[in-house]
Subunit: 203 residues, 2 copies
Amino acid sequence: MQEREPLRERKKRRTRDVLFAAAARLFLEQGYEATTVEQIAEAAEASPRTFFRYFGTKDDVLFCRHDEYVAAFRQLLASRREGETLAKLLRRAAGAVVADLIGDDSREAVTLQQIVASVPALTGRQLELDIDFEEAIAEVVAAHAPGPDAELRARLVAGAVAGAMRAAERAWVSSGGADDLDQLLDATFSVLAEGLAGLDEEP
Amino acid sequence: MQEREPLRERKKRRTRDVLFAAAARLFLEQGYEATTVEQIAEAAEASPRTFFRYFGTKDDVLFCRHDEYVAAFRQLLASRREGETLAKLLRRAAGAVVADLIGDDSREAVTLQQIVASVPALTGRQLELDIDFEEAIAEVVAAHAPGPDAELRARLVAGAVAGAMRAAERAWVSSGGADDLDQLLDATFSVLAEGLAGLDEEP
DNA sequence: GAGCCTACTGGCATTATATGCCATTTGGCA
DNA sequence: TGCCAAATGGCATATAATGCCAGTAGGCTC
C-alpha cells in the first residue's frame, strides 16, 4: 500500500491543473487580452478570487513553471563533466532546458510562445524572468574565472550569452517552430565563440 | 519676425511637460507604485483623462522618449566613418546614446533607472523596448555581412551585443552611477570581441 | 463517531489602470 | 463675428488585483 497524497493536496493540485488548462485553452482560442480572469474561473468552475490565490496575476499562468526551469538550469550548470569546457557546459544546459520546456509536442509550446510574443506586456514579463537564467550563467562564469573585475566581466559574458539565446528563441518562435533547435543553438554558440571578431575587419 | 509655434501646440507641449515633471517628481518622492495617476494629474492641474491622452499608460511617462533614442541610435549607426570597423561604430553609437540619455546630471537618470530596476513590471517594459535597439543593431550587422544565414547570424550577434550592454547598464545602475561609463562600455566591447574564447580552455 | 481546528473557498467591497462617450471650452481661421 | 476642429473634463464602464469575513470541508484527537 503506497502512501497516498492527502485528499486536500490532491484537490489543490487538481484545482490548479483545471485553472491552468482552462486559461491555456481560452488564451489559444480567443487570445490573451480578450480572455478575462472571470472567464477562466468560470470555465474551471471556480471563483476569480480562487484564481488569484493560485496564480497571483493573470500572466502567472503562462510563467508558473519558471522557477522550476531556473532550478533545473542551475542544477545542470552545476553538473560539469570531465573535460567539459564552460562553453560546452552552457550549450548542454541550454539544450536540456529548452527540450524540457518544449516537451513532447512542440506545437503547443510554439503557440504559447507566439501569444507571449504578440502581447508586449507578456514579452516584457518573460524578458524580466530571463534575468534569472542570466544570473545563473553569471555565477558559473564568475566561479570559473576568478580575478579582479571577474564579477563584472562574468555579468557581461552572461548578458551576451543570454541575449544571443533570446534572439535565437525569437527566431525559432517567429519561424513557427520550423527551425531545428539544435542547429539554432549550435549557431548561437558559434557566434558567441567568434564574438565580434568578424565585425572587426577593415570596412 | 520668426514664425512662432501656434498657441495650441505650445499649450500641448506645456501640458505634456508639466505632466511629465509632476510624474517624475512624485515617482522620486514616493515611489512608482505609491503614486497614482490621479495624484499626478492633480499635481499637474489636469484631469486623469488628460494624462492618459498624453501618455497612454502610467509607465509611458518613464519611457516616453524611447522612440527618440532609437531614432538617434539608428542615425548614428548610419553615419559610419572612414575606416571605422563595425565594432567601433557600435561602440561609438552606444556611447553617444547613453550620453544623451543621461544628460547633464547623471543623478536624476540614475534614480529613475533605480526606480525602473526596483519595479519588475517596469524592468520588463524596458527590456521589451530594448528590442528596438537590438533590431537596429541586427539590421546594420546584416547589411555588413551578407550571405546565407546572414540575417539569423546578425540577429544572434545583435542579441549578444544588446544583452551585454543591458548587463553593463544594470551594473552601472546598481553601482549608483559610480562606475565610469566609458570604461564600462570599453569592457563590454572587449568581452564581446573576445567572445567565449576565454571559456573554451580545458578545465 | 463526535467534535474541534485548520485550510481552502467564495462573495463582497475597494482601489487603480485604462478606455469609450459626450458635453464644454478654446484656439484657429474665414 | 461666427464656424470648425482640437483639446479638455467628467462620467460610466471594464478589468486586474487585494483585503476581509463568513461558510465549508478535510484532518486529527479523544
